[in-house]
């Protein structure tokens, strides 16, 4: 069976698809990293709205997380993509620029980030609640402004509690980038499908792409575990 597979199709240069596959992989990593970072920013704001906000902010954050958790990612991505590009276009037209082509990478990051933000809100909220109240009160007693309390005490102290959940979210982010293939982003999954359809060797390319995703997952698992150990230094290990 093995000799019937033509591994030269994976070559990096033109007749082979290896280079295209790697470029797609890089695009996927970019999309995942950007979306994840945006998700963390949204998550911090969402968690603060849920924990410290007024009643309106709380309810709005609740509606946002409910929506993200109840509707399929694929549908959300389509909706955000169309609404986002539409709004951007109208905004640019309103400001006098005509016909604005939304950058694919930016739109993809926005779409992934908005989905990630819903889950990150819940993870960060739980982690902030796990920080002993006394530590935050002590910071407030020193006269720090709320922003400073957040930056100097709450966020660093909640990091070890948030890391397991956030590691999970990173795995979800890397896999969610594949959904962008349905919208037409040329990331790893879509490139793989094009390569497989062009050469008709489906197994070779899908398994090669699977190995790339798996390698990304396993490598980031190791890195995240090391980072978690660093973030947990000084904490009493749980028995």
């Amino acid at each position: 069976m093995l000799e019937s597979i033509d591994f030269s199709l994976l070559a990096l240069d033109a007749p082979g698809w290896g280079g295209a596959l790697l470029r797609g992989f890089l695009r996927s990593v970019e999309l995942a990293a950007g979306g994840y970072a945006l998700g963390i920013v949204i998550g911090v704001f969402g968690a603060c709205a849920k924990l410290y906000g007024g009643r309106v902010a709380r309810d709005l954050a609740e509606v946002y997380t409910m929506l993200i958790r109840a509707v399929p990612e694929l549908v959300l991505m389509l909706l955000f993509y169309y609404v986002g590009t539409d709004l951007m276009n109208r905004l640019m037209q309103g400001m006098g620029y005509d016909g604005f082509d939304v950058d694919g990478l930016l739109a993809g990051i926005l779409v992934i980030g908005l989905v990630q933000g819903g889950y990150a809100t819940e993870v960060i909220r739980g982690a902030i609640q796990a920080v002993p109240r006394g530590q935050i009160e002590a910071a407030q007693a020193f006269g720090m402004t709320p922003g400073k309390v957040l930056r100097r005490v709450t966020l660093p102290a909640m990091t070890p509690h948030a890391l397991p959940g956030m590691a999970n979210l990173w795995m979800i982010a890397t896999k969610d980038t594949a959904l962008l293939a349905v919208i037409g982003f040329s990331e790893l999954t879509l490139v793989t499908r094009q390569a497989a359809a062009a050469t008709r060797s489906y197994f070779l390319f899908f398994i090669a792409a699977g190995l790339l995703y798996l390698a990304l997952t396993l490598v980031s698992n190791v890195i995240l575990r090391l980072y978690e150990r660093r973030a947990r230094r000084g904490m009493v290990p749980v028995q």
Binding site: R55, V56, D59, R69, V75, M171, L179, T189, T192, L214
Partner: protein
């Protein structure tokens, strides 16, 4: 006296107290928010183009049924497959344990869409090459896309649920299993009278979350031409050239589906005695 305070946090509502939940909706800021939401909703209904809806309603119903078939089929079969996966990891011999662990890692480490396309395009084209398979009774099914979708969803659910069940099986207190053995129960009886029910009981809260996640994975089968709800909506969008209306309708349907599922699973969870 009405409560016009919009700053003080509200005490959490008691679970299952519906009159309290209703009263919580009548706070002034929530009434205003509900009014805004209702105004937005009626603006959507009145100002957007919904004339396509009646014509496509039967097709949408069929799509919804297909989505539910995919969900129920993959959850039931996936759960059955998750049991051996979890048991192999908890108490199996080393090679089996290793095999189950690597299966779960590979499936959980790659996107479902990729697995789906591997099954459909890869296996599908492979099967078509063998006349032996084309002659069997299986061929009429293997020519259709839905078995591949069902297989991919089942395998994915089994891998995630296997991980949950592994934790649940490992978490059953050893004393309970020893007590069962001390009563002279056979290995099988210990499993089906004590170990399995206790593990399911522990896994029940996460099972609800996993089933919701599975519902959210089902629209992926539309990419291999299974006509589920999402595929019907895609067809509507192509036929009517409307961007938002069909998508908003889809969002509304999925919210309703999730809500019904959450309520049903919570009802099921409450029926199981906790024993505390």
């Amino acid at each position: 006296m009405p409560d016009f305070d919009t700053v003080t946090p509200l005490p959490p509502a008691a679970k299952g107290d519906f009159s309290a939940m209703f009263r919580a909706l009548l706070l002034p800021h929530r009434i205003v928010m509900l009014a805004i939401a209702l105004a937005g909703l009626s603006a959507m209904v009145l100002m957007m183009n919904w004339s396509w809806l009646p014509a496509y309603l039967p097709k949408l119903g069929e799509g919804l049924l297909m989505t539910l078939y995919m969900l129920v089929g993959s959850v039931v079969m996936g759960f059955l497959l998750a049991l051996p996966l979890a048991l192999a990891q908890v108490s199996g011999p080393a090679p089996l344990r290793w095999l189950a662990l690597s299966f779960c890692t590979v499936i959980r480490g790659t996107p479902l869409l990729l697995q789906l396309w591997l099954f459909y395009f890869g296996l599908g084209s492979l099967f078509a090459q063998f006349p032996e398979i084309r002659g069997t009774w299986l061929w009429p099914y293997l020519r259709q896309p839905w078995p591949y979708g069902l297989i991919a969803l089942t395998v994915s659910f089994a891998a995630y649920q296997g991980e949950v069940m592994r934790g649940a099986f490992a978490g059953v207190p050893n004393g309970e299993l020893e007590a069962a053995r001390a009563f002279g129960m056979s290995r099988f009886k210990v499993f089906h009278r004590v170990w399995f029910p206790r593990a399911v009981h522990r896994a029940l809260p996460t099972l609800a979350g996993e089933i919701i996640l599975q519902l959210k994975s089902t629209p992926l089968v539309a990419t291999i031409t299974v006509t589920d709800l999402y595929a019907v909506i895609t067809r509507v969008r192509q036929a009517t050239l409307l961007t938002y209306e069909p998508l908003l309708f889809l969002v509304a349907v999925y919210i309703c589906l999730s809500a019904v599922l959450i309520l049903a699973l919570r009802w099921l969870e409450n029926r199981v005695p906790t024993g505390h």
